[in-house]
């Protein structure tokens, strides 16, 4: 391999690396971001829902399903938030209120609280303590509701 050839390879390699880095930094389209956070929220509700029904005694309690669903929800609870970029502010098909961006401190606190409460639910579910799950579920419901009330349009 001569010097010229390796120089060329290095240049191509560098260029590719730069290209990949550029791609990563490029903005994700607003509609994708909105879809992302809606999808995360939909999945959280999908997995939390049966836990709620069990806690409320509407369907029989199944500790294995509770543990699985709560751990899914715990991972999902981290996923909506980077979808709330300012680029989505003027996007029509969302019920997100402008306060998300004008009062971002409060919104961030709400998102932290949601992750904390779902984390508690997952911990309770892992412990297998049905009463702890019940108590933690109340906290999850309240944190969901508080944020919906403040930051989501009817």
């Amino acid at each position: 391999m001569n010097i010229g050839k390796s120089m060329m390879l290095a240049t191509v390699g560098f260029g590719l690396a730069a290209g990949i880095a550029y791609e990563a930094a490029a903005q994700v389209k607003p509609e994708v971001l909105v879809k992302q956070r809606k999808a995360a929220m939909t999945l959280i509700a999908k997995y939390i829902g049966p836990v709620g029904a069990m806690v409320q005694g509407k369907i029989p309690y199944d500790a294995a399903v509770v543990a699985r669903n709560a751990s899914f929800a715990e991972a999902l609870s981290k996923m909506p938030w980077d979808g709330f970029e300012t680029s989505t502010q003027n996007f029509k098909e969302t019920r997100a209120k402008p306060e998300i961006y004008s009062n971002s401190a409060k919104f961030n606190a709400a998102s932290d609280s949601m992750q904390t409460e779902i984390g508690k639910l997952a911990a309770a579910a892992r412990s297998g303590d049905q009463n702890a799950v019940k108590a933690a579920f109340g906290g999850v419901g309240k944190t969901c509701k508080a944020c919906h009330d403040d930051f989501r349009n009817d």
């Binding site: 509700a45 829902g49 409320q56 419901g141």
Partner: protein, 229 residues
Amino acid sequence: MTTEQKMIAVRAWDAPVRVFHWLLILLLGFQVYSAKTGGQAMLWHLYGGYAVLTLILFRLLWGFAGGTHARFADFVAGPSAAWRFAKSLISPRSAYFIGHNPLGGWMVLAMLASLALQAITGLFANDDIATEGPLAVLISKKLSDQMTSLHHWNLWILAALAVLHVVAVFYHRLVKKEDLIQAMFTGVKRLPEEVVAASGTPRKASPWVALVVFAAANAAVFLLVKRPF
């Protein structure tokens, strides 16, 4: 002058109407509280909703089977009668009614309609967390979301009607010197003798009919919520 008129006591509201009225207020207070609390309280919000629906259904039936002044036929007046009464309200000498006056009758219908809408949309609503009305499974998520929106917006209509209702009651108290709040507790109004004499003998409500109607309302709501068929 009103002071020259001989006032006599007359039974205006039968017991079912009074119990309905105060129970409804307590339940609505509980409904607002449980909805604002959220979390596990949503289960109780559903139960409260079934109770409100039962009361509304009872009152609608009682509007046909109740005592004279509980009946829709007694207090639903035409728009021109309501307008004439509205104009006369400016003077304290406006007409007296044992039951609802023509405007009050329309208010009753408006409140019942708004309450029914609230209870029915609630049956189909969901909170996007872990609670949904018992009939939400029958419809699409999109329609359920629209029902939820309606459930939220109608709350403000209901609140506005309630405020208007209370303002009207205080207007009667302060301007016409009629204590409607006490009448809703005791069932008795004190009205000029000739007003009472002109209205004839009122038809009394049967407590047995009330019981049957209440049982029917309960059964209907039970069947609607549980759908055993």
